[in-house]
């Protein structure tokens, strides 16, 4: 089975096209602290096709949320985008003015946050929180939609995420976690963005609701023909949902590839250990972890940052920082084990 076929068996609706939606090149987010520069996200490069579902996984502190926030230019000081570019639909997000970036958010690039938490303003009705995003993106020469049109939009959006229209008049504290997550999705799709960044949209929800939320998110994405960048650490959920998976470790993207192939044949030793650590239903065994801890991201030494925990480590790993290598078939990894196999 070819790679293309493998990807497409995962979906019911929209297909991945060959159009580049998001091209991230050497993207780096650094935090300047008193004790040095923290390279929370360093030299990340990947491409997201139109209609693709890309999942970013990695343990806490690996930089996946930093990357997602950095792409939206929501990094707060002392963090800043140190270098690299992120081109969405032909425009480099890192060079836009603040006002251009503001207009791009929600209309082209929308965030679906961990809605079960406190991402909704507690003193504002749901309808207001959907409407204000729409109103602040009306172009100067455009006429603002009137109240009836806005009500209609709110009703339509709520129905599309599986909520009854009456939710519009409620306050966030009157909703359950799953309902809040749906509202967060309704806000995210309100201006038909071409890229949805979903930052752990199902954490703090029970598994039944998780499944419903992910189904809804997939359906919405296919309806909009948008791409999705899913940030999460739930490997099982990622395996079911995504087309492509990117594994992050210590601020670097160490492996990228079609989800099925990465799961069946992981290349990077970290990915191997990560997948091996998933508990299995078929056999009872001890929980397998990855020994050691991720390195401090301040003043990283030369060489691979996984070297100290890697079972296959050899001399070169501590001397040369591995570069990302194209292994063919949309598979990439940054590991010296594959130095001889690079296609380019």
């Amino acid at each position: 089975m070819s790679t293309e076929q493998a990807i497409q068996t995962y979906r019911t609706g929209a297909r991945i096209t060959d159009v580049d939606a998001l091209v991230v090149d050497g993207f780096s987010v650094y935090y300047e602290t008193d004790s040095g520069t923290v390279k929370a996200c360093d030299d990340v490069t990947f491409t997201l096709k139109q209609g693709e579902r890309f999942a970013l996984v990695g343990e806490s502190g690996s930089g996946k949320t930093t990357l997602a926030m950095g792409l939206m230019r929501l990094t707060r000081p002392p963090g800043h985008i140190a270098k690299g570019s992120a081109t969405l639909n032909g425009r480099d997000l890192t060079t836009l003015t603040d006002e251009e970036m503001r207009r791009t958010r929600l209309s082209e690039l929308a965030l679906v946050p961990q809605g079960a938490m406190n991402s909704l303003n507690p003193v504002m009705r749901i309808e207001r929180q959907i409407i204000d995003g729409i109103l602040d993106h009306v172009e100067d020469d455009e006429k603002s939609p009137n109240k009836d049109e806005l009500d209609e939009m709110v009703r339509d959006l709520l129905t599309r995420v599986g909520l009854r229209p009456g939710v519009a008049r409620l306050f966030p504290h009157e909703l359950s976690g799953g309902m809040k997550q749906r509202v967060a999705m309704a806000i995210g799709i309100s201006l038909r963005p071409s890229l949805i960044v979903a930052d752990e949209p199902t954490s703090a929800l029970d598994v039944v609701v998780q499944r419903q939320i992910m189904q809804t998110l997939g359906r919405l994405q296919e309806g909009l023909d948008a791409s999705i960048m899913l940030v999460g650490h739930d490997m099982g959920l990622v395996a079911q949902f995504a087309d492509t998976i990117g594994v992050m470790y210590a601020g670097k993207l160490v492996e990228v590839g079609p989800v099925e192939e990465v799961f069946s044949d992981p290349k990077h030793p970290y990915t191997k250990l990560l997948i091996r650590s998933l508990p299995s239903l078929k056999e009872k065994r001890e929980f397998l972890g990855i020994p050691g801890l991720p390195p401090q991201l301040i003043d990283l030494p030369v060489g691979c940052s996984f070297a100290d925990r890697c079972p296959s480590v050899f001399a070169k790993c501590r001397e040369v920082t591995p570069l990302t290598q194209d292994l063919g078939g949309r598979r990439e990894t940054a590991c010296h084990l594959y130095d001889g196999e690079a296609k380019s």
Partner: protein, 359 residues
């Protein structure tokens, strides 16, 4: 379809009129309960201030007469008889229980009795006259300071403020560390005495009689400016620092990140997301402070000889005018309990998470 059913959980299929009737019924009930609690607090506090002076074992009438007698150098014969007749007049010769019932009866009619020092003027007369001055000055100043201070704090706590604002507000906040009475004296010395721009003391020019004319109004405002400034400076700092802290807390909330991710305009995030949420504790503070403004600012009013309640309280304590002191304490009780009552009733409108419950 499970998605749909889960979402409909909290639905209440009712028409508009039903909802209105339900809310008004619930709210009515809630307000009544809060009001009864208000009455209970006032009764309890009044009872305490009825009992405490009687535990001291002092006889206010006798002390007053003794003081007058000493001052006048008069013979002290017949003093006891005089005290007895006065006590009869003030009802102090009756059994404790009867005095208590009479006190509550008078209180329910808001009759606070006679002043001892300025007999036959009533306490109501004295207190309410000065209350006007205090409420006029303190009410305006408190609300002004709240608005200015809260705005300053909101801007100071906003990470996207223009940098130069820091250099204007920070010295202003330092000024607020100066005690009010000291600032009052400095203002009197510089503005009123050396420059002569504004009057030195009082609520209005000494030679005039209060009338409802434009000239008199201007005179009152001119007299109020310096005391107002003395109070407002420190109060602004108080509100600004509280608001700034709340704004910084708000910055860390998830909904602030989401507001940015929604690409909202900065002004909308500032007002509707940051300030709106940071304001809630400030409003609680305002209600409590409004409850205490009836006490006036004893020191500032003293420095300016402003005819407010603080000045009256000072005089009453000096002349051991027990009934005036008691009257002012009752006004304070009513003020604080009243403000708390208002806050209880209004707060659910500001913060939807505070539910009006009846159980």
């Amino acid at each position: 379809m499970t998605e749909q059913t889960q979402a409909v959980e909290t639905s209440s299929p009712s028409t508009g009129t039903q909802i209105i009737r339900m809310i008004s019924g619930v709210l009515g009930h809630f307000v009544v309960k809060r009001f009864l609690f208000f009455l209970f607090v006032v009764w309890l506090a009044s009872t305490v201030i009825f009992i405490i002076p009687r535990l001291s074992g002092q006889d206010p009438v006798k002390e007053k007469l003794l003081l007058e007698a000493q001052r006048g150098g008069a013979m002290q014969t017949g003093l006891d008889a005089m005290a007895k007749s006065y006590q009869k007049r003030f009802g102090l010769d009756q059994p404790m229980w009867t005095q208590y019932v009479n006190f509550l009866k008078d209180l329910s009619r808001l009759d606070l009795g006679f002043s001892i020092a300025f007999f036959p003027r009533t306490v109501n007369d004295i207190v309410f006259e000065s209350l006007m001055w205090t409420l006029g000055l303190m009410g305006t100043v408190t609300i002004l300071a709240f608005i200015l201070g809260t705005l300053a704090g909101a801007v100071l706590g906003w990470p996207r403020k223009p940098g130069w604002l820091q250099y204007i507000f920070m010295p202003l906040l330092t000024l607020s560390a100066i005690p009010q009475y000291l600032l009052a004296m400095i203002l009197i010395f510089v503005v009123a005495f050396q420059l002569g721009w504004l009057p030195l003391f009082g609520g209005y020019a000494p030679a005039t009689v209060p009338t409802l004319t434009f000239e008199f109004a201007v005179d009152v405002v001119r007299h109020a400016i310096l005391p107002a400034f003395a109070i407002i400076f420190s109060a602004i700092g108080f509100w600004a620092i509280g608001m700034r802290g709340m704004m910084i807390n708000t910055q860390g909330e998830d909904y602030m990140i989401q507001a940015d991710a929604k690409g909202l305009k900065g002004s909308r995030i500032f007002m509707r997301y940051a300030v709106r949420n940071a304001l809630l504790p400030q409003v609680t503070g305002l209600a409590l402070v409004l409850g205490t403004i009836v006490t006036g600012q004893v020191l500032v009013e003293r420095v300016f000889s402003y005819p407010g309640i603080g000045d009256i309280l000072f005089q009453a304590i000096r002349l051991s005018d027990f009934f005036v002191i008691r009257g002012i304490v009752i006004i304070i009780i009513l003020g604080i309990a009243g403000a708390t009552f208002l806050l209880d009733v209004l707060y659910p409108l500001l913060d939807p998470r505070i539910k009006v419950r009846n159980s």
